[in-house]
């Protein structure tokens, strides 16, 4: 049972088993659905930890377990390009990147499922929720473990589907249904590019296996222009899934889903799948300098847009969503600058502390029934000591305060960017400054607001059972301790374990960067403190601010307006033209005119049938005479 392959099968199949068994549970037994989900995710998490411990010394890696699936015979598709043994395979691939990611995915899934037991305790459609969550976890593990691009694409679509289902979980709410649709459509736009890229790559290169996608062999096989094209097409999929500019608009709206879903799917795992793919297929992207430059530019735009929009939001989940967008941008920037190690390292620290932040937000929302940070403050957010402590841990980790996890990974990104290009370095620095600013703002507003509407007696009476308290506290505590701890894995105390694993090199702590970070934290925190030390005043000021910057941020850089213009004006007028064409030309001119002319012809012909015997007779005679003349002398006609 403990061979790597069987462990892989457990990781892959436990969630789908949970999904199926929840589906077939009889109605009376639906109550145990959360238990099924939690147990199966626990199985997957422990299997992945076991797998991690087997391979922790990094021998025999990378290892593949593959099986041929489709053999494409020579010359069947495209006689000039396909090599002889173009075979599509299915299978698992294990290497350090996968191991790290699969551990991250399964552990966070487990914690989120546990927390969901608390968060969704009163929801009547709990079984559906846990079924979808398990299905998501199945798709996500499939995505992470897959050995080739096509298999990745299949699971990529499945996570997109589950994300759609879970964003629209409360589908009776109009806004949730719209948000789900928006996420689905924007993701499809990106995935179209991804799919085209995969097809092109297979046709021209003949293999989709990650182990074959080395930049040297790609450069030998394909021209630079083609490589750039394929790279950018595949990157489009990443842009959709990882909410990169200009496709980022779906992620903040996706917060309509239940909060644990946002923690799992829309911050820790699914949106990180894009970043994962970038480093998984890094050979493909790094084969062309232009592709990497596009990645870098898109990443920095995303980081900037996300961070600046996070500064004015009032909704705690929206703040975190925009913060996720900007952090994803930072990861993509790091990979664009040529260092997948930094990107993935930030991905893993970010996954833990952002999941922690979202779960904390969920704890607030569940308790105070509001998303607005001012409301939470007024209703006594600071009284919930456990949540406030974890909020602080999450936020300082996000800001990159040493020695929290975010510090190590963010520093690594800044260092990479500094070596690469000073302009992008300053973009990242500015983004970090904004991050500190909005984190401090969030904290101050919750913590310093005067409690004016304490929760009423009934709210206090609503005391939770031990199981609920347990399910609320354990995930928060575990995630918090992981985000405290995980950063140290990159320090000399732990022999740079993560970095060695990811194939990077250790870097000494750079005093200059340390100073930059300190200044950033002081500046951002100070600015936020000056503005928000009195949250009530700041609120009125925020409401009344009508400056151009505020308007620009309020309208989200007009990106949503642009999409609205695209759909409402462009698409609808195109549809109107097509509608007119269909109604007048196709239907009116072709279909209706055909039937009308047949009717008219019939009416003319019916004039012959006038009912007068002698007219019929003369007609018959006339025709008879003509026939007779023809018979007598055929040549005369």
């Amino acid at each position: 049972m403990t061979t790597p392959l069987s462990l892989l099968w457990i990781i892959q199949l436990a969630p789908i088993l949970a999904f199926l068994s929840i589906q077939v549970l009889p109605k009376l037994a639906k109550k145990i659905a959360p238990l099924v989900g939690i147990l199966c995710s626990l199985a997957a998490a422990s299997a992945s930890l076991k797998l991690l411990s087997i391979y922790s010394h990094g021998q025999n890696l990378p290892q593949q377990f593959i099986h041929p699936w489709l053999k494409i015979a020579d010359g069947k598709i495209s006689p000039t390009f396909i090599t002889e043994n173009a075979t599509l395979v299915v299978g698992f691939l294990i290497d350090p990147l996968n191991l790290l990611m699969i551990t991250l995915v399964t552990t966070i899934t487990f914690f989120v499922q546990l927390f969901s037991y608390y968060y969704m305790a009163e929801d009547p459609s709990r079984p559906r929720y846990f079924a979808f969550l398990s299905f998501f976890s199945f798709s996500m593990t499939g995505l992470v473990l897959s050995s080739n691009l096509l298999q990745t694409f299949l699971f990529w679509e499945l996570v997109g589907l589950t994300s759609y289902l879970l964003i629209g979980f409360w589908y009776e709410k109009q806004s949730a249904a719209t948000a789900a649709r928006k996420a689905f459509v924007l993701n499809r736009l990106g995935d179209l590019g991804f799919y085209l890229g995969v097809i092109l790559l297979f046709l021209l290169f003949g293999s989709l296996n990650f182990l074959d996608l080395k930049s040297d062999s790609l450069r030998q096989a394909l021209s630079p222009a083609l490589l750039t094209l394929i790279g950018v097409l595949v990157f489009m999929g990443v842009m959709g899934k990882s909410a990169q500019f200009p496709f980022h608009a779906w992620l903040p709206d996706a917060m309509e889903g239940p909060t644990p879903v946002s923690a799992l799917i829309h911050s820790a795992t699914m949106v990180a799948a894009g970043v994962f793919l970038l480093s998984r297929a890094f050979g493909l992207f790094s084969a062309s300098e232009q592709t990497l430059f596009v990645v870098l530019v898109i990443g920095s735009l995303t980081a900037f847009v996300g961070a600046s929009l996070a500064t004015i939001q009032r909704d705690i989940k929206k703040i975190m969503a925009y913060s996720t967008v900007s952090q994803l941008g930072l990861m993509v920037m790091a990979i664009g600058a040529g260092s997948p190690t930094a990107g993935i390292f930030h991905l893993s620290t970010h996954a833990y502390f952002k999941a922690l932040l979202f779960l904390t937000a969920g704890a607030f929302i569940h308790k105070f029934h509001t998303n607005d940070i001012w409301e939470i403050g007024r209703k006594g957010g600071k009284k919930d000591l456990l949540a406030v402590v974890f909020l602080i841990i999450g936020l300082v980790s996000l800001c990159g305060v040493p020695p929290f996890a975010g510090f190590f990974s963010k520093d690594m990104i800044l260092e990479t960017l500094k070596e690469k290009n000073s302009f992008f370095y300053w973009v990242a620095v500015f983004v970090s400054f904004l991050t500190v600013y909005y984190s401090t703002r969030l904290f101050l507003v919750v913590f310093l607001s005067k409690i004016t509407q304490p929760r009423h007696a009934e709210g206090l009476a609503h005391h939770d059972s031990f199981a609920l308290k347990f399910c609320r506290a354990v995930p928060l505590i575990s995630l918090a301790s992981i985000s405290l701890f995980v950063g140290f894995l990159s320090t000399p105390f732990f022999h740079h374990k993560i970095l060695h694993w990811l194939g990077g090199h250790e870097a000494p702590l750079n005093p200059e960067l340390l100073a930059t970070t300190a200044i950033l934290i002081l500046a951002g925190g100070g600015l936020a403190f000056l503005q928000f030390k009195n949250p009530e005043e700041a609120e009125t000021k925020l409401e009344n601010d009508k400056g151009p910057l505020k308007i620009l941020l309020d309208r989200k850089f007009f990106i949503d307006d642009f999409y609205a213009f695209l759909t409402k004006k462009v698409a609808l007028s195109l549809a109107a033209i097509l509608n007119w064409f269909d109604r007048t030309v196709i239907n009116g001119l072709m279909v209706n005119q055909t039937s009308f002319s047949v009717m008219r012809l019939g009416r003319v012909a019916s004039l012959l049938q006038n009912g007068r015997l002698q007219d019929y007779l003369s007609m018959a005679l006339g025709v008879g005479v003509v026939i007779i003349f023809y018979l007598i002398n055929p040549k005369g006609f």
């Binding site: 049938q609 009912g611 007068r612 015997l613």
Partner: protein, 103 residues
Amino acid sequence: MSQSLQSYLVVSSALFSIGIFGLLMRRNLVAILISLELVLNSASINFLAFNKFCMPNKVTGQVFVIFIIALAAAEVCIALSLILWLSRRKNSINIEDAKELKG
């Protein structure tokens, strides 16, 4: 005029033309019926004439004519009954009044 084939044919075609003329121009159904008889008779004359002048030893034409006469009798029988029925129904035997079957 001598008794040649042509003279018979002239008589029969005269009869035929008169019959067709009557068929097309008369409005009275009985007159149309009579014209039809003329057309049939002209055909009978043709049969007899050709029988007499072309194959005098055989009686094929005469047999045909007997058939035509029988047919004409049957036809008159049916047509007259139809006309009678029409005159009862419409109180007229004008063909203009019987055109319900127009398209």
